[in-house]
């Protein structure tokens, strides 16, 4: 295992690989600064490019995007009081208050360093989980993998909002859409409507851009003006922020580990990680008097956690083939296109690749933080550019990204259809992540179901591993539904 880690380190340091990692980091930084677009849009735009690239470099580029979004989104959270992404909502509370007191640079410095250490701790957690998870994962056969997928989908459906039924409905829609095109079980085309465009099903890039990019694009456009209001100046205190992180290092370590834990659980992800950590911080702090009025701990805790989450999210994605978030689902699909099957065999067949991703995540975090420090002033101005002037670039990127899927005019028509569906889902409060993850897992679930039924019949349901995962699934569903009912009663 150590040999694989060392070999992967040298692969990552190759100039060709580093360039692509830096492209990913650059896109991630830009997308993080522009509120409303989000990391999934950035990853979806780069996804078609990875299909023709070397697998390690392509995946490193996507990891580069994921690694730094929650670092650069701090600019708008701290300086403008607008969450740069779902993972930086809690940073606004104390970060913006600090900026209003002229301590913007201190808040940014503490946030960048906490993010960097969080990201590195996340990568380390992924690394350390490999020998521990190895025995367990390698004992899994198709019935256990099938149940893991079902559990992941149920958790994502139930935990991605306070509407479990909507989540499960979205996951079912994703599984259904994933069956379109040539069947991998029988020799027939399903739901192709006699259109040659649909013989291979709905392209993933078109679906992800339609579900995420088009609705965000439309909502930002309808609001008009620049993406963020006129913000505050960066101010001073760069050194003080670094000293804050050193002074509060146990906080960085604790919240990074919580972030890893949140990342491992499918469905929790970015929207919850920052508030969960902020709440934990407030509950456990001795001095609570300054929270909300500019306490640097209120910046350090959520920022450590939201970067560490990516390392945690990679664990179920790589080892079980169950993506914990929409971003990880895109990474998983890039692997499948490259002929790499995520799951237990990754530990025997592609161990070097896993370590290459670990190194890419760590290096991406360090480089992203360095760029944020060096280019803090120009990056913070990017969010003040009127969206009307960014429109041509974003619009063309979406069109080009979608057209890259099959280079057929049908890509653009499907983009509109998926855009309408995505906007309606967002408008009516349906979670979109379960749909995307269901779509990506559809083929895998169907294949595992087919193999399981043919090999074991219905006896597979009595296997000990299946029973344990099944009990966990039922417990999660029960708790999720009960929590939603309680919230509804309270409202």
């Amino acid at each position: 295992m150590l040999d694989a880690a060392v070999q992967a380190f040298f692969i990552v340091l190759q100039p060709g690989h580093l360039v692509y990692l830096m492209v990913g980091v650059g896109v991630g930084l830009a997308v993080g600064v522009l509120p409303g677009l989000g990391g999934i849009v950035g990853m979806a735009l780069l996804l078609p490019l990875t299909f023709t690239m070397d697998a390690t470099a392509g995946l490193a580029m996507l990891i580069g995007v994921a690694a730094v979004i929650t670092t650069s989104d701090t600019f708008v959270s701290v300086l403008m009081g607008v969450p740069g992404s779902a993972g930086s909502q809690a940073t606004v509370v104390d970060g913006y208050a600090m900026a209003q007191k002229g301590e913007g640079a201190r808040a940014l410095s503490a946030a960048f360093l906490a993010s960097m250490f969080g990201g590195i701790i996340g990568a380390l957690a992924l690394c350390l989980s490999l020998p521990i998870a190895r025995e367990l994962v390698l004992s899994f056969a198709s019935p256990e993998l099938l149940m893991m997928s079902v559990m992941g989908l149920c958790m994502i459906g139930v935990l991605s909002g306070n509407a479990p039924l909507k989540g499960i409905l979205a996951a079912s829609l994703g599984l259904f859409l994933g069956t379109w095109g040539a069947s991998n079980i029988t020799a027939e085309y399903r739901y192709s409507f006699d259109m040659d465009y649909l013989f291979d099903g709905v392209p993933l890039v078109v679906l992800s851009l339609g579900l995420y990019a088009i609705p965000e694009f439309l909502d930002v456009l309808s609001r008009g003006g620049s993406i963020a209001r006129k913000g505050l100046s960066v101010g001073s205190g760069w050194g003080e922020g670094a000293r804050d992180v050193r002074r509060h290092w146990p906080l960085v370590a604790r919240h990074s580990l919580v972030g890893v834990g949140v990342g491992i659980v499918p469905g929790l992800g970015a929207s919850i990680v920052d508030w969960l950590n902020y709440g934990l911080l407030v509950r456990t702090a001795r001095d609570k008097s300054k929270f909300g009025s500019g306490d640097v701990r209120g910046v350090i805790a959520p920022e450590s956690a939201n970067n560490a989450k990516e390392g945690g999210a990679l664990i179920p994605t790589l080892l079980f083939g169950v993506p914990g978030s929409a971003g990880m689902a895109l990474l998983l699909s890039a692997m499948v296109v490259q002929g790499i099957q995520p799951g237990p065999r990754m530990l025997t067949d592609n161990l070097e690749l896993i370590f290459a991703l670990v190194w890419s995540l760590a290096i991406g975090n360090v480089v992203g933080t360095a760029i944020c420090f060096v280019l803090s002033r120009p990056i913070s101005r990017l969010a003040l550019v009127p969206f009307n002037l960014l429109f041509p670039i974003v619009f063309t990127l979406i069109i080009v990204g979608a057209y890259q899927s099959t280079r057929h005019i049908g890509d653009l028509m499907a983009l509109i259809a998926c855009g309408v569906l995505g906007w309606l889902m967002k408008r009516f409060g349906f979670p979109r992540a379960p749909l995307l993850i269901g779509f990506i897992l559809s083929a895998l679930v169907e294949r595992n179901l087919w193999i399981t039924l043919n090999r074991y019949g219905w006896d597979w349901l009595s296997r000990p591993g299946v029973l344990v995962i099944g009990v966990f699934t039922i417990l999660f569903l029960g708790f999720g539904v009960r929590a939603a009912l309680r919230r509804e009663k309270a409202a």
Binding site: A86, G161, N162, Y191, D219, F391, F395, T396, L449, E488
Partner: protein
Amino acid sequence: MTKRERTYHLLFLALLAAIFGYGLVTALGFFPGGRFFPVTATAIGLACCGALALHLFWGAEAGAALDASTKPAEFSYAALFFLAFGFYIAVVYATGFFPATALALLVFLRGYARVGLVASACVTGATLGGTYLFGILLNISWPRGVLSSLV
């Protein structure tokens, strides 16, 4: 939730139920091996649609996703946006990618964003130039349009 909002919600659920219903009926005609999975997925989807509709009929809140819209675009604005998008694709089909995109960007910048003529031309030119270079780099053949084959 207002009565109007509830009606819109129910209409969207009806649309989803129609999609699942079509999927279920069609799936029953597939070969046995390829039937089970789509039937299961669509049946679960239909059941969720029914449960959510009942939930709304009883006057309960439907709940929302964590990434739901806080300030969504108006329905009329969204309809106009998707109509314009559809028109753009029709122009791409007729004239090809570059003329249609140039037209769309100029109409947006001049007509909607009220950007000056020179700035609009510069932004459009730079965007299309960048896209063209990108296309050469990745060896992309852009849609040429049916009209170009008639010329």
